[in-house]
Symmetry: C2
Subunit: 113 residues, 2 copies
């Protein structure tokens, strides 16, 4: 067992990440974008249950943190495309880990029934 200080040091980076990908929507949005660039309406469908207001806000947050890129194309009507930045793509390992555990958890829950 290590010292308390080491433990606190260990927690810090995780808290940093939690600050960035907090809430129920950010990771689902990032995952959706990891499947390919998406328009606003597409995201609204794939991230089930999200409202336009929340989607708009979360996209802004993610863009501010440089995880995604918002590209506006000068078509008529204007079209907007969201994509993962390289930095956002680097979250893959995190998403994979979460996903693997999530699948195990699901199996565990089913096994109980």
């Amino acid at each position: 067992m290590k010292s308390s200080r080491e433990c606190i040091e260990y927690i810090r980076p995780v808290r940093d990440v939690l600050d960035i990908i907090n809430g129920k929507w950010k990771l689902p949005i990032l995952i959706s974008l990891s499947f390919g660039n998406k328009r606003f309406k597409e995201l609204e469908k794939e991230v089930e249950g999200i409202t336009p207001k929340m989607l708009s806000k979360e996209l802004r947050d993610l863009e501010m943190n440089q995880l995604i890129i918002r590209s506006v194309y000068d078509t008529v009507p204007v079209s907007v495309e969201y994509s993962l930045s390289e930095y956002g793509k680097s979250l893959d390992s995190v998403i994979d880990a979460l996903r693997e555990w999530g699948k195990k958890h699901r199996n565990k829950l089913f096994a109980k029934l």
Copy 2:
């Protein structure tokens, strides 16, 4: 680029996990316990900033989800020890991934200055 249905299927397990480890405190608590069994007061110190109320609530949630074990010892005064369950330990990979990314993120922020 895959179909929308695949994408939605892909997101589901991640949302399951998020439901379990949501909020700012659960992962820090789990990490602290990964360093060794802890008493309530010890956790209160190592999970910096948490109030006893939140700690109490989060511990209850984590216990309900079988991620931690609460052991009461019949001493005077009574002592309570929290430990990771095997199931809780299986979150290691998730925590590692988050932590690795968090460290990178920190470096990136520092590099900017």
